[in-house]
């Protein structure tokens, strides 16, 4: 049953992406990409990734959509041009995908508790964490303590984006000459 729901949700995601490819109306595309993110969040939730699902819903479906709508408003752009010369890109993407698929034969099976990712490194996070850190949410423990340096990097990425947007979009004060 669980698997069936996951499959159904993923099919809906693919449909959303298909519509995004097809559509030329940018406003529609933005809304669809919000829908896509929301479906992605649901799939992630069904895959037991509650924290990730929550973040994807807030960021992908919420924030990104708002940013995109804002940019659309600023750019006054409604319709993209039609596809031109789609065959070369299509061939390239298909070739890429086929190579990828060939590579995945042999990746661990879904839901195999004996797969190496469940046997190495992670057991300490699950079994010893109550004695070492003692917070109920294991994701928080890994994110904020075991791998807290990654989270520092992540915070820096957010900071970089913020400072970067300031650097790009700040209005120039009068009297500064900087011809662009």
């Amino acid at each position: 049953m669980e698997s069936l729901i996951i499959i159904a949700l993923m099919v809906m995601m693919l449909v959303a992406v298909w519509l995004i490819i097809q559509s030329r109306n940018l406003f529609g595309v933005v809304v669809l990409s919000g829908v896509y993110s929301f479906l992605m969040a649901t799939v992630l939730f069904a895959l037991d990734a509650a924290d990730v699902a929550m973040t994807e819903a807030a960021v992908g479906a919420g924030l990104s959509t708002v940013l995109l709508l804002g940019a659309l408003y600023l750019c006054k752009s409604e319709e993209g041009k039609p596809l031109h010369r789609p065959w070369f890109p299509l061939a390239l993407s298909v070739a890429l995908t086929l190579t990828l698929m060939a590579g995945t034969v042999g990746l661990p099976f879904f839901s195999d508790p004996m797969a190496v990712i469940h046997q190495h490194v992670v057991p300490r996070y699950i079994n010893d964490m109550p004695a070492e850190i003692d917070v109920p949410n294991i994701v928080t423990a890994v994110l904020a303590s075991y791998r807290s340096f990654d989270t520092l990097g992540e915070t820096t990425v957010v900071f970089t984006a913020g400072a970067g947007v300031i650097a790009l979009l700040r209005r120039r004060r009068n009297g500064v000459t900087n011809a662009k």
């Binding site: 693919l14 992406v17 895959l47 037991d48 699950i126 994701v139 990654d150 984006a161």
Partner: protein, 125 residues
Amino acid sequence: MTTLAGSFTYLVTFLLMMAGFFIIIARGNLIKKLIGLGIFQSSVYLLYVGPAKIVGGTAPILAAGFTVYSNPLPHVLILTAIVVGVATLALGLALVVLIRESYGTIEEDDILKLDILPEPETEQA
């Protein structure tokens, strides 16, 4: 059914990747390209989170009565990936807005046409 769902996750990962890549190279609108880029980036989520799931397991939040938890490590990594995605989108859109202001268009071919002409020496607003 479980195996099917598993292979399907991988399949969807690659289909999404392909779709995102296709939008990036086939579409000339700069905003649409960024949307494609977002899909391309988000395909990774399933590659990481799919295999982390254990059927019959539960979300990795310790609670009485559960002994089998899905693997929390990929979740942590994907949280970071999502944040990176939105950071890239914000910067990309800021660039698009500036391009629109100085070129008057966000269609790639129009911009390339304008770039062949000599640069106008006008002050940007």
